[in-house]
């Protein structure tokens, strides 16, 4: 366990104390913070470790949300539905990854981007199962009061974040993480030395999808209503990338910090400039890319932790 990873776990543990300090608003922000951190950590597996520019986050977020929503409507318990979505997302992404990850660079980016479109259109047109453009209502889970509900979903999302972080830390220290690093640096060479790069990439894509899918499931149960243009929003694909770039590509602690900082900025911008919030987000993205290309983690003084591994 390196100091960076320890710092990550401590940071996540600190987030858990949030309900002590605030009401429903703090819980809402906390839940979204955990969700964004899950996105960023998951994207980092395929985008940061393996170096594949994936835009498929929104596809699996929406898939997980709809899978859980449909299962809940068939009165399956929440925990089973979320675990079911997690497993389904993993298998689906691993299978798709085996095909799509043969593409490199721009082509992979486009293919993953169009995955979102395909999923959205499929859900839009499967009206019998998903309600199509009318959206899907999801039954209330408990009805034990607003604050209790908010606290429950906050801890559900937080627990998922903890699991994601632990898995990502294990992956980064394992043979899989090492293999993904090799693939990022030189895929042809890693093929040559006998690395099964297709298997590694598929597993990485599956891992990057399954927690996002589970987060989608919790999100669906939390907001009680989902529709295709909401959960398959392409912004869900782009935000994790911005967070990762903001925090420092490849470093788990960096991307989680990036997610929290991003959420803070987004919240401030939403609150003050509701009419031009996406324009302000655009300006932020551009400033970030031009002036801080290696993320916030490149600002460190070197006092607290050693050089980030995957930058």
């Amino acid at each position: 366990m390196t100091r960076v990873n320890l710092a990550l776990l401590i940071l996540i543990a600190c987030v858990a104390s949030l309900p002590l300090f605030g009401g429903a608003y703090a819980l809402r922000i906390g839940t979204i913070a955990c969700m964004y951190a899950i996105f960023a950590l998951s994207w980092n597996v395929v985008g940061g470790f393996a170096g594949y520019p994936s835009f498929a986050t929104a596809a699996f977020f929406g898939f997980g949300a709809y899978a859980t929503g449909i299962l809940l409507n068939k009165s399956v318990p929440l925990s089973v539905a979320v675990i079911g979505s997690l497993v389904m997302c993993f298998l689906l992404a691993a299978a798709l990854g085996a095909v799509l990850l043969r593409l490199r660079g721009h082509y992979f980016a486009i293919a993953s981007l169009s995955l979102v479109e395909v999923f959205r259109e499929l859900v839009n047109n499967a009206t019998d199962l998903t309600g199509g453009g009318m959206g899907l209502n999801i039954p209330l889970a408990s009805g034990s009061g607003i604050l209790a509900d908010a606290t429950f979903f906050f801890y559900a999302m937080w627990g998922l974040l903890l699991i994601t972080a632990v898995v990502v830390i294990i992956v980064s220290a394992s043979k899989l993480g090492f293999g993904l690093n090799c693939i990022r640096q030189n895929e042809t060479a890693s093929d040559m030395v006998g690395l099964n790069s297709t298997l590694y990439k598929s597993v990485a894509f599956g891992l990057s999808a399954c927690f996002v899918g589970a987060a989608g499931g919790i999100y669906a149960a939390w907001v009680h209503y989902i529709d295709p243009s909401d959960v398959f929003d392409i912004l869900y694909s782009v935000k994790p990338i911005v967070m990762a770039l903001m925090g420092g590509l490849g470093s788990p602690l960096g991307v989680v910090c990036g997610a929290f900082v991003y959420l803070g900025l987004e919240e401030v911008v939403w609150r003050n400039y509701i009419q031009i919030h996406s324009g302000v987000l655009g300006v932020l993205i551009i400033m970030l890319l031009l002036f801080l290309p290696h993320g916030l983690i490149s600002l460190r003084s070197g006092m607290f932790w050693r050089k980030a591994k995957h930058v």
Partner: protein, 288 residues
């Protein structure tokens, strides 16, 4: 007769698709940048045509002539001032940068024009031609002809002019072009400017046919993706082939299995092409 009508529609729509995609394809091929702002450029061009007609009573044909230099300068400056700083960075960075630019431009358009759908209605209306049972609206026909002329002009430019040959040279082999004395930075900016100009002109043509709204930009961008991948990158004939194929698949698909599935079909086709034949239908290195 239905089959003929579907074919004619596909032919008309296919040329327009080619016109939408060709600037995108040029930028992708030459600069190796996926230009996500392309869709918003098209919508901006459409607003230009609409505003010129509505407020200044300038007909869309003249708007075409105004749009081209305006968008060229806009694109040229954008590349010189912003994109050029990260042009050597990995895919992710350039892609995200153009996404940020798109957010700004799209938000600005929503702010000034609102998200309402508008329509440029020519008066008097141009009507339609019907031959036997096949009906083609005249405005569509004119837009298609203009799209073909634009593509032809680009082809001539790339083929005959000195700048065009330099663009082709940079696309084929950047390093060799540098050694031959080509100023790559200025060629990049010119290519991006050309892409923007083509997008603006495509937008003016779209204004004749489709409703205008900032929200339609992602649909145009999606079409540009599919056409580029189907036809092959950076070539004029590739964009034409891709546009025609896409229009044909959409037309036949929506006739056979319903229009709701047309978009799904086109994206499934895109993924299949990416995996099976990533160089596209007419994939060759460089321009013809």
């Amino acid at each position: 007769m239905l089959a003929v009508q579907v074919l004619i529609n596909a032919l008309v729509l296919g040329c327009l698709y080619a016109c939408i995609a060709i600037g995108f394809s040029l930028v992708w091929g030459v600069l190796n940048v996926i230009n996500l702002i392309h869709g918003s450029f098209i919508v901006l061009g459409a607003y230009l045509a609409w505003g010129a007609y509505q407020w200044l009573a300038i007909s869309p044909w003249y708007a075409l002539v105004i749009a081209a230099p305006l968008f060229f300068v806009f694109g040229y400056l954008l590349q010189r001032l912003l994109l050029n700083r990260v042009i050597t960075a990995p895919v992710l960075v350039t892609l995200t940068l153009t996404f940020g630019l798109d957010l700004i431009l799209n938000n600005a358009m929503i702010y000034y024009f609102k998200a309402d759908y508008r329509k440029l209605t020519l008066s008097p209306p141009t009507g339609s031609i019907s031959l036997f049972d096949v009906v083609v609206p005249v405005d569509r026909l004119i837009a298609t002809a203009s799209a073909l002329v634009l593509t032809g002009l680009l082809y001539l430019l790339l083929r005959r002019s000195k700048v065009g040959r330099a663009i082709v040279a940079v696309r084929l082999d950047r390093d060799a072009a540098v050694l031959m004395g080509v100023d790559v930075k200025s060629i990049y900016a010119i290519a991006f400017g050309l892409g923007a100009a083509l997008a603006g002109c495509a937008g003016v043509l779209m204004a004749l046919i489709f409703p205008i709204s900032p929200l339609t930009s992602s649909a145009y961008l999606g079409k540009a993706f599919v056409v580029c991948v189907l036809g092959g990158l950076g070539s004029v004939s590739g964009a034409l082939a891709g546009g025609l194929l896409l229009a044909l698949v959409e037309g036949v698909g929506s006739t056979l299995i319903g229009p709701a599935h047309a978009t799904t079909l086109s994206f499934v086709l895109l993924i299949i092409f990416l995996v099976v034949r990533p160089q596209g239908l007419l994939g060759r290195k460089g321009f013809e």
